[in-house]
């Protein structure tokens, strides 16, 4: 199954930095195992542009579509056997410790 993993900040991070896993290692391991198909960090939401078309007219807004304290700062596309495997992959990502991750399965994949 394919999962899109949203990487998000959180207002209550783990404070014990010695326990937080290393992101380079996470990427290397999961790329090598074929569990990470793609992924990247994103620039801050201040650089976002929201696009809509209404009545045929293009409407552009400066900023993200939802203003929240927690912001999406990256994403990864995972290929895993099931949710349990995806959870194991996610829990080893540093942002599970200092932020939060959302696992969303692809529809019909």
């Amino acid at each position: 199954m394919k999962y899109l993993m949203f990487v998000c900040t959180d207002t209550e991070p783990e404070t014990d930095e010695s326990r937080i896993p290393d992101v380079e290692r996470w990427v290397t391991e999961n790329d090598a195992a074929g569990r990470r198909l793609a992924g990247n960090q994103l620039t801050p939401p201040s650089s976002a542009t929201t696009v809509r078309v209404r009545g045929g007219e293009l409407l552009l807004t400066d900023g993200p579509f939802a203003e929240t304290k927690e912001v999406i700062v990256g994403f990864d596309i995972l290929e895993c056997a099931d949710l349990d495997e995806a959870i194991e992959v996610a829990r080893a990502h540093p942002m599970a410790w200092v932020g939060r991750l959302e696992l969303r399965p692809f529809a019909g994949a």
């Binding site: 199954m1 999962y3 895993c80 056997a81 099931d82 949710l83 349990d84 995806a86 959870i87 696992l103 399965p105 529809a107």
Partner: protein, 391 residues
């Protein structure tokens, strides 16, 4: 109930979970599995009166359910491979050792990616076979809401890729407490003063199954012992007028002594949280109550589960073991640690300790205060009765 209807009901209790669990494994379709099990039971009610109850009722039901599933899948034009898998499912003979199918079912229903409400509802509906209408009544929602809750949970299982599997290795240790928590919730839901008594029986049945399927898990066994011990007092905890009685006022002859003996035979060493609680319950079921041991067990429980309610119960136990002053001191500590502000039994515990410390007047006020905040009518009456006795 006619003899045949009783036989169908018994076969249903015995085999339903097994049939549903096996059909889910091969078809991956929860609704289909439940529908086919239901149709098999309906067919039994129809045919057994004339044809007689078969020698192997469970096998009969499994075969009929399997055939219904095959028909449904054929109609839906499902690929041949899946049809072949369904076709080889336990065919009438002694049901295959599909016990792990039921375990898979339990662990999937209790998956932590489902909401806690969904876990409880799904376990009751799918594993225990409780009708949706009964679930709705017990959880104070409409039947439509309960149906939606169940459907949403099944959809999430399918769409999110929640595996139909018993976790192994370290994952099992991580997941088992979640399963036990669902059963515990179920049991208390049944055992609460105004609860649904059938749920307590259901929780014991499921706990028995879990213990049977995972004989090497002491916490599962401890939980069964705990349930049996608490449930052994079900007939003794009310007087003739339906008022709740505290342990020391119950007629011990009305306790279920067979259940107590069974629980004792199950007790593992007091290592995990359920084991410690079961040992505490066993102390309460003994001829004379060893409060010093109970207090020591609560000390251990608090180190395992540092929760407000455990702190409160520990204060009460120390109050009986080492005098009301010791209890009141620990109660003050428990309050200071927080989380007891809205817990109705806190004031009741303080009232009891205060009465035993000799301050009757204050104890009466506290009992009245506790009664006003009691969560159920029987509890309210019990607390007012204590106030009257002291006044």
């Amino acid at each position: 109930m006619t003899e045949v209807a009783a036989a169908v009901a018994a076969a249903g209790v015995e085999s339903r979970a097994r049939i549903v669990a096996a059909l889910i494994r091969v078809t991956g379709d929860w609704q289909l599995a439940e529908d086919c099990a239901q149709e098999a039971l309906a067919a039994a009610l129809e045919r057994w009166p004339a044809g007689g109850v078969p020698d192997n009722p469970g096998g009969w039901l499994a075969t009929v359910a399997r055939n219904r599933a095959l028909d449904a899948l054929r109609r839906a034009n499902v690929e041949r491979r899946k049809l072949a898998e369904v076709a080889v499912l336990a065919s009438g003979a002694e049901p295959a050792p599909a016990s792990d199918d039921r375990l898979r079912l339990i662990f999937t229903c209790c998956h932590p990616a489902l909401s806690p409400e969904a876990r409880v509802a799904l376990t009751l509906r799918t594993v225990a076979g409780v009708p949706t209408a009964d679930l709705a009544r017990a959880f104070l929602v409409t039947e439509a809401t309960m149906t939606r809750r169940l459907t949403r949970a099944k959809t999430k299982i399918a769409q999110a890729g929640i595996p139909y599997r018993v976790p192994s290795g370290p994952a099992l240790a991580e997941r088992l407490p979640g399963v036990l928590a669902v059963l515990y919730l179920l049991f208390t839901r049944g055992y609460d003063a105004d609860g649904e008594p059938a749920f307590a029986t259901e929780a014991i049945r499921l706990s028995r199954l879990l213990t049977e399927l995972m004989p090497d898990q002491p916490e599962a066994r401890a939980q069964l012992a705990l349930f049996l011990l608490q449930h052994s007092r079900r007939d003794a905890r009310r007087d003739a007028d339906g008022n709740l009685l505290t342990l020391d006022r119950q007629d011990r002859a009305r306790w279920d002594h067979a259940a107590i003996a069974e629980a004792r035979s199950l007790l593992p060493p007091a290592a995990g949280p359920y084991a410690v609680q079961a040992h505490i319950a066993a102390c309460h079921a003994a001829g004379t109550t060893d409060w010093a041991r109970i207090a020591a067990l609560y000390d251990r429980l608090l180190s395992l589960v540092p929760s407000p309610v455990v702190r409160l119960n520990r204060a009460v136990a120390h109050g009986y073991a080492h005098g009301p002053a010791a209890g009141l001191a620990l109660l003050a500590e428990a309050r200071a640690a927080g989380g007891l502000e809205n817990y109705p039994l806190t004031v009741a515990a303080e009232a009891d300790l205060t009465a035993r410390a000799g301050d009757r007047e204050r104890a009466v006020t506290l009992y009245e205060q506790a009664a006003a905040a009691a969560p159920s009518e029987p509890e309210r009456r019990a607390l007012l009765a204590r106030a009257e006795e002291l006044a």
